[in-house]
Symmetry: C2
Subunit: 440 residues, 2 copies
């Protein structure tokens, strides 16, 4: 077998078998097959795509390239949640505690953020004292004891994906549905969950810009889950404007606490309940989405979700007073403000622009080495569809220097447009393992 022939086969639109894919990926991880052959291959995949079987094989091969987390020491059905990434996406901080409150163990490994979307691990790091790196043993012990842990990745999970993603990232071959699907699913499968709920975001602030692409990606990932005997559901949700009103690490922790306290913005509450409902339904703790949502809503009302969050913060060394007093979180010293330049209806609050502005304010990384200002970010005072008057406050930028606040402001001002607004649903549809697909 030669790498050359495998590349040429894919280039010419032929289907690769599992042993060919394995030869390529294993050879790459072992350093036998060079970068330049793999980047030619991923570009060929960009143009020719992959069949379902090829995508499933690739996922399996990547999954087998490293360690797998063994969650069998935790009783109950382990359900994981994954988001393809959006701006203001603090859903794990809300959904995790609510699902744990329902008695379903949540053992979640999460990533750091890069680019215009933030990472859950960065957000949690803004809580004074909070430890994101636990040993696997301590991670599992914590989930057994309190039902909830959110930590950075432990062990050498999916090294093939790490190496492949780094290469795709510099060769313009990230944007390939089968490569995205296998990358996400290999990591989820390696994290040990038995059931998986995927939040596939679509819109200006998401990786997927079109609903068609988002549904295709969702189908590809659900099919992989099915092939690997892990029931998987994908919810396709709207990311045209930021989720909730807060973007930035400490600010998003604050807003998650708001929602778990029964306050907070409605869009954020609704999608939290939807995703959580799928999780506990898959785990067998509810008989349908509507019942599940009611159940989770009751865990907001009786504060048991908030208490779970506090328990997790405590267990991971953080100051759990934060759940009743968010003023202990860091906050950017300098504030700049965007005011409405005209009266009218906000037809756009572009999530991508808001994400870039938050990153510029100091809330995110443009390269892996960048430092984050935990108190930096953006508070939106108005959302899409809202009628505003000229001079009314649209948003506040928090930053650690006036320069950063001003630079962020310059970007943030580009996020707004006025005109006609057509209301869009928050959730466009769902793809399930049973191949039942509903779309709004």
């Amino acid at each position: 077998m030669r790498a050359y022939d495998i590349i040429a086969k894919k280039r010419d639109g032929l289907v690769l078998n599992e042993s060919e894919l394995k030869y390529l990926i294993d050879g790459y991880v072992q350093g036998v097959i060079p970068d330049y052959q793999i980047s030619a291959f991923t570009m060929a995949v960009f143009f020719q795509g992959m069949t379902n079987d090829e995508t499933a094989s690739l996922t399996k091969i990547m999954l087998e390239s490293g360690d797998k987390v063994d969650l069998s020491g935790i009783p109950g059905v382990k359900v994981d949640k994954h988001s393809t990434g959006g701006v203001g996406d603090k859903l794990s901080l809300i959904v995790g505690p609510l699902v744990a409150a329902a008695g379903i163990p949540v053992a979640k490994m999460s990533g750091r953020g890069l680019g215009h979307t933030g990472g859950t691990i960065d957000k949690l790091s803004s809580i004074p004292g909070f430890q994101v790196q636990l040993s696997t043993d301590r991670f599992i012990k914590q989930v057994r004891e309190i039902g909830l842990a959110i930590v950075g990745q432990t062990g050498n999970l999916v090294p093939a994906d790490k190496k492949l993603y780094a290469l795709r990232d510099v060769t313009a071959t990230v944007e390939s549905l089968p490569l995205i699907a296998s990358s996400i699913m290999s990591k989820k499968l390696a994290s040990g969950a038995e059931k998986i709920v995927l939040d596939v975001k679509v819109g200006s602030g998401a990786f997927m810009k079109s609903k068609d692409d988002a549904f295709q990606l969702a189908r590809a990932m659900v099919r992989i889950g099915q092939d690997m005997n892990r029931e998987t559901v994908a919810v396709i949700s709207n990311m045209d404007e930021p989720l909730g009103n807060m973007v930035g690490n400490a600010l998003e922790v604050e807003e998650a606490i708001e929602v778990l306290s029964g306050r907070g913005p409605e869009d954020l509450r609704n999608i939290s309940l939807e995703l959580g409902a799928w999780m506990i339904t898959l785990a067998g703790a509810a008989f349908g989405i509507d019942e599940a949502k009611e159940k989770l809503a009751s865990f907001i009302d009786d504060k048991s979700g908030l208490n779970k969050l506090a328990a997790m913060i405590r267990a991971q060394g953080g100051d759990d007073h934060v759940v009743s007093d968010t003023s202990i979180l860091p906050q950017g010293k300098y504030v700049s403000r965007v005011y409405a330049p005209q009266s009218g209806v906000l037809s756009e609050v572009n999530a991508h622009q808001v994400g870039l502005a938050a990153m510029t304010a100091g809330a995110g990384r443009s390269t892996k080495e960048d430092n984050i200002d935990m108190g930096a970010g953006i508070k939106l005072a108005a959302k899409m569809g809202q009628k505003v008057k000229k001079g009314e406050l649209l948003a506040e930028v928090y930053a650690e220097s006036t320069e950063k606040a001003q630079a962020a402001l310059n970007i943030l001002e580009q996020a707004y447009a006025f005109g006609e607004y057509k209301e869009q649903p928050m959730i466009f549809g769902t793809v399930t393992s049973r191949d039942n697909e509903s779309s709004a």
Copy 2:
């Protein structure tokens, strides 16, 4: 400017400007842009193609990456000939002397062979004493004195193409028309010719398998020549069966001498006259192809072409007795023979198979490091369309060991098919700078 953005732009089907291509190619030659970005780029070009302007820019950038041969010290119009490669293609050994006999200087740099097609330089090396590496000064002096020199490449010509071709060769991105066209033309332009005649071969033994592709490649190259103010003509010729009857280094020198002596196979003589006629017409030494052919035919009849070859061999240190006594050429010690397994009409003598068989016999290299047996090769005793009887001799294999002779035989036997034969023209058409195109 970032390599990433240029790759993404090509991937998405947008047109690159000259400064973007220059950034990429110069950066690659300087080692600033890594292999893995360039191979992703060439794969994107494979799928998205290049406009005429892009192809011309790429050619110019590659041309400027290294030395250029200065032929201005040679009086007269310098015309070069290039073949895209075929099996049994010893045309340069015939056309060069004939054109020189017409008083048109031929200063030709040629390559070594790789794969199933042989290189002119290897063929000449089979002549006892013949030197293929001359200094540029001696090369030019020889052309001034006798009007003809064929040598290996001197100087650092088109290093960008060397590096790019080596990468394309291992990433399945050789097969891209604009990349092939710019690779060939940058080398021809760097070799210093003012006018260029291209022999674009099409068929089983050629790189181009379809006439459409061959004409497209021809048009792309002629257009580049035009853009660079070097009048260029491309002849599209048939390479379904080997050219002439001999394949192998010494055997092809022998057959070239046969043609220059007024003997030798008709197909070889005809295409030699056609290509030579275009060369002397472009150089202004004839007023039309028919007149030019007659002129060149007279240089066969009066042996002035053969005398030019002898003069070149002498000037380059070789034994010029070879032109009257080819028995001084090396010949493989072992012979194996293919006989017709049935009676009937030969519907196929597959050039690719014959080329592979010759390589296996020892006449070619499968890797750059392989040694060549100068006396190895194949003598065809029957050509396509010929009626043969069961048991009649089809071909002889010459090799330096019985093992090589037998291995070659096993491949050669696959080259033959019997059945209906439809005669094909030797020349399918011509593409000229004046955009006049004729096709047979």
